[in-house]
């Protein structure tokens, strides 16, 4: 309906390949490829038209190429029956895809030093971001980590596109023994980074935000939250985020995110409704003092 917004299309699969511990599917989706900006994702229907597996699976877009009429690649790990079905797709099969969805990573106006931190398959959206940043003349440094060597995604590409690439594994099987965020501070100092871009599990994003804040630089995080639709309808992927007005709202990761300013995300309250969030039992009392007993009565009535 709009030139900028997402579209829903049936896309032919070009290739399905193993990448380390993951799978990557490339589909021909020119409309999505031309709209795409780094950080956006697609949602994919799994199991066929009469599937009992109703909900789409969201995947970050890992690569977009103009060849073959515009292709889009996304990365996934086999976790359940939906992703197992996806891994069995073959060339020329059709996939029903909606995208590109979500707010992209904001890009700096000037050439600045950027460190990109990714955990596991969460590293995927950082690769097109690295290319965009390089095109703007930014310095890019990678810190990629995972549980073990085979789950560190695309180390070779990271080395190729970035000024430096640091790897960490929980078991020490590759790179530095430890977590991404253990290495992040050193990289920020060595590279004189101006901004952090982070993508991965929530605890990693919380740590990355703490490290960036300790170094006095901003951080953009891309969150991974359970989504039923990806299009803003279902309200299931909400996390507490502080707005510019200082008010905490339960915002949708799919539409209002997945990229947020790290400092604005209330990481310690993810998975809860903070007492003072807009529309939570306590917010009214906090914001216009005194009227709260009224609201509580009405809820209970």
């Amino acid at each position: 309906m709009s030139e900028q917004g997402p579209i829903q299309i049936r896309c032919p699969v070009l290739t399905v390949r193993r990448v380390d511990a993951y799978y990557a599917i490339t589909v021909v989706a020119p409309g999505i490829a031309e709209r795409f900006r780094s950080g956006q994702f697609v949602s994919v229907a799994v199991g066929g038209e009469q599937s009992s597996t109703l909900l789409r699976r969201p995947f970050a877009i890992h690569d977009v190429k103009p060849d073959y009429g515009g292709t889009v690649e996304f990365l996934f790990a086999v976790r359940g029956q939906g992703t197992a079905w996806l891994a069995e797709r073959r060339s020329r099969d059709l996939l029903d895809i909606v995208g590109p969805l979500g707010r992209p990573f904001p890009l700096p106006r000037d050439p600045v030093n950027c460190v990109l931190a990714g955990g596991g398959s969460g590293a995927a959206p950082l690769f097109p971001l690295a290319l965009s940043l390089r095109r703007r003349g930014c310095r890019v440094d990678f810190v990629l980590g995972a549980a073990s060597a085979d789950r560190v995604f695309s180390a070779i590409t990271a080395r190729r596109v970035a000024e430096t690439a640091t790897f960490t594994t929980d078991d020490g099987s590759f790179g530095v023994h430890g977590r991404v965020t253990d290495a992040l501070g050193t990289v920020i100092e060595d590279a004189r980074s101006d901004v952090v871009y982070a993508c991965g599990p929530m605890p990693m994003l919380r740590e990355a935000t703490a490290v960036a804040s300790a170094h006095g630089i901003p951080v953009q995080v891309s969150v991974e939250e359970t989504m039923a639709c990806g299009t803003g309808l279902c309200m299931t992927c909400v996390i507490p985020v502080v707005g510019e007005d200082g008010i905490t709202r339960m915002v949708r990761s799919c539409m209002d995110g997945p990229v947020f300013r790290g400092e604005r995300v209330r990481f310690d309250d993810v998975g809860t409704i903070p007492f003072d969030a807009l529309g939570a039992p306590g917010w009214k009392a906090l914001h216009d003092g005194g009227a709260h007993s009224d609201a509580i009565d009405r809820e209970a009535g």
Partner: protein, 320 residues
């Protein structure tokens, strides 16, 4: 020749019987990215309360076989935002508006109804009687005919007479027909059936409930036979009362099922999450099926499953 898809809900006429279900289409704005929302019968907006509401904690959703279990707890920005931002937008795009209301008590429902029916462009008010109530774990309006009737009466008496009031019922109640009759007695102009079914999923890994609230609402194709049965039973008992049928609609064929069971319009819910262009696809499928069967008017189909064998549709234009 394309069939006449028009249908009536009390004194409101819709261009076609495909509408969205409350809570499954936002305020129409999100879906408008995928199709022209003026093409469908109406958009039912997400249940609105007087004040902003933060809803329940995550995880709010779990996938179940042919279904979805959810507990969002009616998160929403409150009625002011609906009236100032969402409703004018929907109407400016040529959309027809069914506004769903939810309250903690009859007084809140009445106040909402008054403010909403004063707004221009509201075609119908749907009273969500299955509102999650923090004090009572629950839905006592939906379970108790007297409570339901009290809410419906309060809404009807605060709503302008030309705006129909529909009561939305849940299927898992002791006496659905009695509940429906009580709402009609309280001057509901019609019924919306059915809301999500109470259920639970346990995460096999943690052995804890899969959604944070414990119990959730089951929706999707898994509940369609329940919903069709409810519509059939209530239409049999109250044939003059218009019904918006809903529950697991995924295809044009599913719409036919609800129409035959006695629904005058059919709402598309959970499938919108999976397929944002579902409404227009379903409308197209419905139209093709009517042409195939030689049916010229949707209105002729309503309640056809209740007619004696031979009088219902048999392949062609048969006995219409």
């Amino acid at each position: 020749m394309s069939p006449d898809l028009r249908t009536r809900l009390s004194n409101v006429e819709l261009e076609n019987p495909v509408v969205t279900a409350a809570g499954c289409a936002g305020s129409g704005r999100e879906l408008a990215q995928y199709f022209d929302i003026s093409r469908i019968g109406a958009v039912t907006t997400k249940s609105v309360m007087l004040e902003p509401r933060a809803g329940r904690p995550a995880p709010r959703v779990a996938e179940t076989p042919s279904g979805m279990l959810s507990a969002t707890g009616l998160q929403g920005p409150g009625v002011d935002v609906l009236l100032q931002r969402d409703l004018p937008w929907l109407i400016s795009r040529g959309g027809r508006a069914v506004v769903s209301v939810a309250g903690g008590g009859a007084g809140e429902y009445a106040e909402l109804a008054r403010r909403i029916s004063d707004a221009p462009g509201v075609d119908l008010i749907e009273v969500n009687l299955s509102c999650p109530n923090p004090a009572g774990q629950g839905r006592h309006f939906a379970d108790d005919p007297e409570e339901a009737a009290r809410v419906v009466r309060a809404v009807r008496s605060h709503t302008r007479s030309e705006v129909p009031v529909f009561a939305k019922l849940a299927p898992d109640v002791p006496d659905l027909v009695g509940l429906a009759a009580a709402c009609v007695e309280a001057r509901a102009d019609g019924l919306s059936m059915v809301n999500a079914v109470r259920g639970m999923a346990i995460d096999p890994r943690t052995l804890r409930p899969a959604v944070a609230g414990g119990m959730g609402g089951l929706s999707g194709p898994a509940i369609r036979p329940i919903a069709v049965g409810c519509v059939y039973e209530v239409h049999a008992a109250l044939p003059q009362v218009p019904i918006i049928g809903m529950g697991g609609v995924r295809t044009g064929s599913d719409v036919l099922e609800f129409l035959a069971a006695g629904a005058s319009a059919v709402a598309v819910g959970t499938v919108n999450f999976a397929d944002p262009s579902a409404c227009v696809r379903i409308l197209r499928e419905l139209e093709e099926m009517l042409i195939d069967r030689g049916v010229t008017r949707v209105a002729d189909l309503i309640g056809s499953a209740h007619r004696p064998i031979g009088a219902a549709l048999q392949g062609g234009a048969a006995a219409l």
